[in-house]
């Protein structure tokens, strides 16, 4: 797979659940799915694997699209508001699975861990089918938020303010 930026005009692009225009109105169901997909994408493989084995180990499912590793172009805006520029490429793994009742789950995960992508897609399918993993997702989200706060605290403790002293020669 070659790197490519996400196209908005291609007719095949509506399958891509990670591509959302920030300004477009997003309905509630989609927003909820975006939330759990992003939480799952950030969760390390070990916890997904353990939870799957414990709660859903007897589920029948099949691979719709085996995990594929590719690149996406990450775009940024200077200061969050400037011109859009290409920040760089990153590796992502995507996967699609289908449960025995036909529910399709997708995942797009950073890095090249195929199993992580597979389990993230499985949990997405479970959430779409009956939402029975929502407690698990909430726990993960809380843990991730906590880790983020921890990190932010550490960073904030080392914050340095830069300012220029008035030198007076402009007057």
């Amino acid at each position: 797979m070659t790197a490519h930026t996400a196209r908005t005009d291609g007719p095949g692009q509506d399958q891509n659940p990670t591509h959302q225009n920030k300004t477009a109105p997003v309905d509630q169901a989609t927003a909820a799915r975006q939330r759990w997909m992003s939480v799952l994408a950030r969760t390390p493989r070990a916890s997904l694997e353990a939870r799957w084995a414990a709660s859903y180990g007897d589920q029948k499912w099949s691979m719709l699209r085996e995990p594929q590793i590719g690149m996406v172009m990450v775009r940024g805006r200077a200061g969050g508001a400037g011109q859009r520029f290409n920040l760089g490429e990153m590796t992502v793994t995507r996967c699609a699975v289908t449960l025995s009742d036909g529910t399709v789950g997708h995942s797009y995960v950073k890095g090249r861990d195929r199993l992580q992508a597979q389990y993230a897609a499985l949990f997405d399918a479970i959430m779409l089918r009956d939402g029975s993993a929502s407690d698990f997702i909430d726990d993960l989200a809380a843990a991730q938020a906590e880790a983020k706060r921890d990190h932010a605290r550490k960073v904030a403790a080392t914050k340095v303010d830069f300012f220029t002293l008035v030198r007076g020669e402009d007057e």
Binding site: G102, T103, L128
Partner: protein, 202 residues
Amino acid sequence: MTLQSQTSELLPGFEHTAFDSNAVFRVLLDALSRPGRIYDLPVSVATPDGLNATTTATLLAMADMDTTIWLSPSCKTKAANDHLKFHCGCPISDDVVMADFAVARMDDDLSFVSRLSVGNAEYPDQSATLILMVDEISNAPAMKLTGPGIKDSHDLEIKNLPASFHVWRAENHHLFPCGVDVIFTSPTQIVALSRTTRIEVI
């Protein structure tokens, strides 16, 4: 809360994407290099309504976001459409002029073939490839093929091939280096006619 589960009729693509598409590509390459020789489909694939297994495998191996596919009205089912968009990410056009691959059944109205892209003198490779789904391919002596890739001559029979096809093929042959290549796909077999192949109806 539950979302409406989507696209639940999606079928899996190749079982081993890399190896299977490689094997199918090899068969297509051989088939086009040796026109008229019949090849078996080397893999098994799930087949959506409207297409047959060989056509599905061919498109999965060949199509991607840079190739436009045109499906004849009888092939253009929702299942086929979804399958190709999901697994190949390819644009599917309603305009046959845009097509890199055109897919049709033998019993469809084949008048569209004259509108297929034949490439141009600088880029003859930009021509379309026609994929025709047929019931049966055999080496019975109905057509005698000669040309590059064929030692002496080769016999081929495609069931129910209309006479208008031969008229179009003869015109197509004169366009060389431009012209359309044709791939016939039965449910289990592939045979190709390159643009250089001369056909003599027996």
